[in-house]
Every structure is written in C-alpha cells, then in structure tokens.
C-alpha cells in the first residue's frame, strides 16, 4: 500500500508537470491581461501587454491582442487632433475583440472602408453604459477632439445601474494570491476554461442549496425595461450626451421597443446590425463563444461605415 501511495503521488506530480509543460508549449491557455483603475477612475487594461486570447479545448479560436498605451486592445495609439477625423468605438468585449487578431478588428475594418478616418476602439469586457459615459467624461479633453462616437449597447445588460462606481474590490481581487496562482499555473487555467472544475461548482451549489433559501423576487419584463430606461435617463443627466456626436450601435432584435421608441422620440440615433445579421448566409457569430466572427465584424463595420460615409459625404 505504501508503495502504491508513494508511486501514485510521484506519478501524479510528474503528470501534472508534464501537462503544464504541454499546455504551455501548445498554448492552450488564455492569456488574460491585467486590469487596473487609472487616476480618472476608469477601469481598463494595463498598457503594453500582449498575448493570445484562446477559446475552446483545442484552440478553436486563437487570436493575438495588443494593449496600447491608453489601455485598450488596438493596433493604433489614440492621438486625437483637430486636423484628423476620428471615430471612437466604445463597448464591451465585442468591441474589445479579444477573439480576433488586433489588426483585424471591427475598427480596422471601418477604417478600411472610410477615407482618412481613424477609429479608436475603447472596448473592455463588461463595460456598460455607466462605464462608457463615464469614460467620455473622464477623458473629456480627448473626446472633445474626437469627432464622432459610436456606443455599442446591449439593452438587457448595459443599463442595470444608474451611477458609475469604480470596482476597486474587483480589481483588488485580481491581485490576490489565489488569482496570482491561477494566473501562473496554465494547466489550472486551461482546465478551468474547459469546464473540468464544473463538478466542484455543482457539488458546492448542491451543498449550499437549502430549501429554506429565499427565492429571488421575480421582476416582470415591462417593469425591468422601465427601470433600465430610467437608468439611461439618469446616466444621461449625470454625464451629459451630445446627440450630434454620439450614435448607438445595437441589435434591434434584442432591444426593447420601449427603448427604441424613446430613442426615436428624443432624437437619439442608432445603427442596427440585427437585420444584416439576419440576412447573412453564414453564421456571423463564433458558435462557441457567441462573439462576432470575421463575417460578423465585417457586417458591423459595414453598418458603421455606411452611416459615416453618408454623413461625411464620402460617396
């Protein structure tokens, strides 16, 4: 028995080490860049980082990212000026675009369609409307020089709060020993990403589920939508909103009519990519993580470029 335990432990350790090496050599793990909150209270990515975003067990999606000096994934540095025409693209992980090569982003595709226009992609996974409007206010000097702003909005996700509060606790959590260990042991990271630890979570969930646990209050859709719209109004009131400069990018199929009607009434412009997605002959999204694939990004870029072509009289 002693021999079994001893040899078993030895094999276990050696196999883990070998797997760690293999996972690193084959780069099966996802390089998640470090986050921070800057002096203006904006949550963004530590500048200068490069790495590869990996999706799927077998690197089904593998793309390089590059964090610029401003703290966003882009092939460009952001240097707005009065002389050039700049468009800022603000949004969450869809704009951040870790699932694509940074040189093949939505912003780059827009640039390719428009003449003498620079597109700055301010994308960060998890950004909501509060983050987006706060960013514009925090870097007002820059955004005053930027000519147009496109804000990517997902109504059901992005209007759940009516004020901006930097998540210092969340960022601090990312610097704890537990996260550092997770970050440096690539095998752990890989196993977690493919769902090998879901069983532990299930067991934990089973243990923590008590029949006396309180049921969350169910909110009906109408009430929820009204709350989200109210949050939008509050945010606009707090941060201001230049309707001539800012347009929304959204999927009409997934946006409440309440919000769309409000935009129409109040003169907010929005660009819909839902219909072109519907008409696409091939799936415009990556099946395994639902982000836009190359076709999806091209469609979205076309929607934005068509709008600005008309607006800048470039046809």
């Amino acid at each position: 028995m002693k021999k079994l335990v001893l040899k078993g432990c030895l094999y276990f350790v050696f196999i883990l080490v070998s797997l760690e090496v293999l996972v690193r050599v084959l780069h099966l793990y996802d390089d998640v860049p470090l986050l921070y909150i800057d002096d203006f209270g904006v949550q963004k990515t530590v500048p200068g980082q490069t790495g590869f975003a990996v999706t799927g067990n077998r690197r089904q999606n593998f793309a390089e990212y590059r964090i610029n000096k401003f703290g966003y994934n882009s092939y460009r540095e952001f240097k707005p000026s009065k002389e050039k025409i700049e468009i800022a693209l603000i949004g969450d992980s869809f704009i951040e675009g870790f699932n694509q090569h940074y040189y093949n982003s939505t912003g780059k595709k827009v640039e390719d369609r428009l003449k003498d226009v620079e597109v700055y992609e301010y994308g960060r996974g998890g950004y909501d409307m509060a983050d987006q409007l706060h960013l514009m206010q925090a870097y007002k000097k820059d955004f005053d020089l930027i000519d147009y702003v496109v804000i990517y909005i997902k109504f059901e996700n992005d209007l759940q709060r009516s004020e901006y509060l930097p998540e210092y606790d969340y960022i601090a959590l990312k610097h704890t020993l537990k996260f550092k260990v997770k970050r440096h042991i690539k095998l752990l990271k890989y196993a977690n990403s493919i769902g090998l630890f879901d069983g532990f979570r299930d067991i934990r969930a089973r243990l923590s589920t008590h029949k006396w646990s309180r049921k969350g209050k169910e909110i009906n859709e109408d009430t929820r939508n009204k709350t989200y719209l109210e949050n939008f109004r509050t945010l606009v009131k707090t941060f201001g909103f230049n309707k001539d400069k800012i347009v929304f990018l959204l999927d009409k199929r997934r946006t409440s009519n309440l919000f769309l009607n409000y935009c129409d009434e109040m003169g907010y412009t929005y660009l819909d990519f839902g219909m072109p997605f519907e008409k696409a002959k091939r799936p415009p999204i990556l099946i395994y993580d639902k982000h836009w694939n190359n076709l999806g990004r091209t469609i979205v870029a076309d929607v934005i470029a068509d709008y600005f072509k008309a607006r800048l009289n470039q046809d």
Binding site: M1, K3, L4, Y11, F14, I15, S18, L19, L22, L28, G56, N57, R58, Q60, Y190, A191, I194, G195, L196, D198, G199, F200, D202, I203, P283, L286, I287, Y288
Partner: protein
Amino acid sequence: MVFNSLDYFIFLPTVFFVYWVILKKHWKAQNIFILICSYIFYGLWDWRFLSLILLSTLVDYFVGIQIHSTQEKSKRKGWLWVSVLFNVGLLGFFKYFNFFVDSWIDFASFFGYTIKSTWTLKVILPVGISFYTFQTMSYSFDIYYKRLKPTKDFLSFATFVSFFPQLVAGPIERASNLLSQILNKRNFDYAQVVSGLKLILWGLFKKVAIADAVAPIVDDIFANYTTYPASTLILGVTLFSFQVYGDFSGYSDIAIGTAKLFGVELMSNFKFPNFSRNVAEYWQRWHVSLSTWFRHYVYIPLGGSRVSKLKSIRNICIVFLVSGFWHGANWTFIFWGAFHALAFIPVFLMGRNTIYKNSVVGENSIFPSFVEIGQLILTFGIVTFSRIFFRSESITAAFGFINQIVSNFSYEIYYHPMGYRMIDYYILLALFVLYEYKIRKDERAPFKFKSGVVRFVAYTVVILLMMLFYDDGVDRSFIYFQF
C-alpha cells in the same frame, strides 16, 4: 452516480481506503461494506429501485437453495421457473409492458380495430435491471445444471448481485467467477491495483475522448438525416460505431479496473471487436458477457449446433432476436438482432463461425494481410450498417435513413454542429484505431510498455487527449444504462 463524474472520483478513493486500510483483515466486513457502498452507488440514482435489486437477490438466493436441496427433476425445474418468471417478469413489467401494449394496439389498428391506449403506464426503466436480473438468473441456472453449489451467506450473495463496479451495465458475471471471489479473502496486490488503474484510465479515455467527443456529431446527423447526403450519413453511422464502442467498452474497462482495485477479477467484456474478421468473431469479441450468457443459457439448452442444421439455424435466430430484444423495447432492436442473425447464418453454414476463436488479426506479424484488411472492412461495414437500426428512433426512421443514403448518393463536406474542425476527430480516431491494433492481443493491458518512460508518456498523452476532446456540454451518462 456515473463513473465519469466527480462524485465517483470522491467515492472511489474513499471506498478503496476504508476497504484496504480499515477493513483489511476482515473480509466479511469488506463484503458488507461493499454491499452498503453498492446500494449507496445505486440509490443515488433512485433509491426506490433498490427494492427490486433486493427482491431479485432474495428470490434467487432462496431458489438456489431450494434447487440444490432436491434431486427431483420436476421440483428443480419448478424452482428454476420461479427464478426465470420472477426476473423476466420484472424485466417484462418495467421494460417491455408499454411496448407490448403499444404493439398490440398497432396490430389491432392494422386490422381496422381502434383500441384506446389506456393500459400504458408511466414506468421509469430502473437502471441496470437487464444486467442484474440476468446475473441472478445465471446463478439459479448454474445450480440447476449442477455447475455450482448455492451459498448460504446471504450478505455475500447480495454483494455478488449488487457489486457496484458492474451493477448497472455489466459485465454480466457468473457466480462461479464473481461469487467465489467474494466468498474468499482478497489480498492487496500492488500489480493488480496498478493494472486496475490503467484500465480505468483507458476506459475513461474511450468514454471522454472518443464516445462523448463524437456524440454531438452523431446526434446532429441522426436528428437531421433527411437533409444530409449519403456521405454524411455514412460518416454519422460510422462515428456512431465508434461512439457506442467507446462508450460501452470504456464503461466495461472502468468496471473491470475498479473491481481490480478491490482484488476482484471480472470477465472481459470487449476484445477489440473492430478487428473481427467475420460476424461470428465479432460476437466473440463484442459484449462477451452477454453473448456467452445467451450461449450458455439459451443456445446450448436449445440444442446449440449439435442438432440438425435447420434447428441450429432456428437456435441462432432465437438467440439473436432475444438478444436484440434484450437491448430495448423497440422494433429497431429486434430488426438489429434479425440483421445479425442473417449475417451470422452464412458464416455458420460455411463452418467458419469458430475458426478465429483463438487468434487475432495479424497473429504472427506486425501488419494484417490484405485478405485480413478486406475481412476487417467487410465485417466493420456489416456491423456499422446494422447500427442504423440500433441508433434510429423507430423502424421508419431507420429505413428513412437507408433510403436517404441510396436516393441521395452524393458527397458533401460535413461541418461540425459547433463549428469545430472535423479533421481533429478524424486524426483522433485514426490514432485510436492504430493504437488499439497495437494492443490487440491483450484487452486487459492497454499500457503494456517495457519502458517506464514510454508508459509515462502514454499516460500523459491520453490525459491530454481527454482534455482536448472533453465536452462539458455533453450528456455524460453511458448509452447502455438505458438497456
């Protein structure tokens, strides 16, 4: 609890530790402990059906004693019938009742009579019922045929019936093998435990990296067969062949490996059936515990091949039809059995049904001969074709599938439903076939390498492949649980 769950990976080492460390010197206590663990293992599915196991155990325990206690043939036969009727009755009620009622209604409607389906019941099929009822019946049969003496140790007998490694999907053990081991002291054997662990690893690989990996593709193709060309349908049924093999033989390997951890040797259930040179050899290599069960308790009592050719053919047909029906209450399985009978009979008539009994393909060479390659492809093709019936939801769907192959005989590239690269799967399966060919002479030693380093590399590669093809969205239960 399933073998490929985290629960089992906590359960197994705990049971192993208590069994060998705490109860090491008390083999009877070990039996009781294994019995309790087996009931927990089963009860976590549905504790209500434990009563069926217990009933089946009680009936065959007493039947065994009664058969042995008398020499009067009619009484012995009578007691044997008690066992058969009880176990088949259990199966009939829980597995086939609705099938018979529905078939009767269909039959009546064929002649213009309409019968309302008020007799069908909402019965859940108890997991493993086909396996443990056959196992307990074999005990009574063996006592009846005087191959075995009954045990008076009820707890050990109950352990034999419910031994958790093989309780829910076999191998269907004979008392002469398993019960005799349970009735004797087991000694901790390092080599046996290590060999068990290797089998568990290999079984997991077959389940996770082969069966579960191709499952979404097979599901997609069979669900949408009307929209695909022949090339895709052939791909689907070929992958299903690998899926069902990986799933069931993987389960058996884990079962046999787990039993080894407790000092128990179970019979082999799969002997590389994909390397069979004719259908008869295939049945000597596929689900061995069931095919030998039918051979010993149905085919031979009917006269086997020691009767006229015509009667032998009748016996073959009976065995295959019953075997098909054993798999499930659906006409698809009966067709599947009938198809195998039709494929087996010519081999039998040519007297080639036992010629490969004691050899493997490429017996004395590294590579198989061209003739053998042809035989392997033909046998694999026949078996794979039969799986259209095995996998389809209904007879109509099975014939629809075949019709689609014939009527839309064209080629089109198939894309994975989740958008994954199909080439990954083709490479994996090719490597798997090659590796199985390499180890084809011993199904119980999947990592037989002289060099420790090579062995270590093999373990690492197998684990890595499991991670590369692990799909957390897949239903992880084993296909044969439904039987």
